[in-house]
Symmetry: C2
Amino acid sequence: MTREGILLVISGPSGVGKGTLCTAILKEVSDLVYSISATSRSPRPGEVHGVNYYFWRRPEFEAKIERDEFLEWATVYGNLYGTPKTQVQEAVKLGKDVILEIDIEGARQIKEKFRDGVFVFIAPPSLEELARRLTKRGADSDEEIQRRLNLASEELDYVSEYDYIVHNDDLESALLKLKSILLAERCRVRRFRSKF
Amino acid sequence: MTREGILLVISGPSGVGKGTLCTAILKEVSDLVYSISATSRSPRPGEVHGVNYYFWRRPEFEAKIERDEFLEWATVYGNLYGTPKTQVQEAVKLGKDVILEIDIEGARQIKEKFRDGVFVFIAPPSLEELARRLTKRGADSDEEIQRRLNLASEELDYVSEYDYIVHNDDLESALLKLKSILLAERCRVRRFRSKF
């Protein structure tokens, strides 16, 4: 009795703790594959091609867009970013589960091309708490924080397009929920190919 | 942000360990409500009305059938058994999660009346293992064991009507899967009533 792999899409507002949650679940679930993004920007010191990102030059990246080789792509601050299709599709075909961290617009694009994915919205406990976190992080100006909060407030409108919502109240509790979602989805009858 | 309760239907072949799993998850998840069945048979020594069963006399039971007050009912060895609707519906309306252990025919009936339920099929590791367990239990004759095995083999055909399948390889692993299914379903976006 074989099962196809799961594409677990982790999305939500900026600053909500998506990255920390992904790192945490990857540590605990050893057979989960991390989907590596591609970018046209240059590697920063210490970044490795095929580990942190696939670093593809802009013409190569644009040719791949032309050939519809991305599950989603976007331009951010003038650089191209995207999720290559093949690595996700091949892993899933082999029965491996793939985790992918992406912003909300990216998740919408992926949903159009990969309906069978499991879409998890990571939500802050409240907008007040999100404000506190962004301020505490100290990486953004007040204006930038306000911009992010407005965006987060709008982004909450998209929750209804997701399968699951996980409030990132505290890491342990959110991680348990995320692991439960993966384990439950692994038991879904519709994922099994053969007769029982 | 309120959520409606979940009706968790635990079903599967006879002898597969449904009862043990239900007892185990009820011990660990304190806010899970056990759905008490009703029967027209007399209480056995030690059995308490409203704890083990609702003991209703046959005319009362039949009147309730007439009034469509059961999620499912069946005659077993001449006695009536059934799942009263109201306790499940009221608990779920209040946002409480209800667990219900039932045979496969009962689960089919419930699915017709309660589409929103979460249907979990507990499967034996294999028919060979099921045979071993039934023999070990020592409660049944060889003929009865063969009858149960034939039935279990037929019952596996119904798995496709369920949401989840949990192989009861060992209690710990099956219990973790069952808890994960409940925890994941609690995070389902479609269960939340209000806007986020």
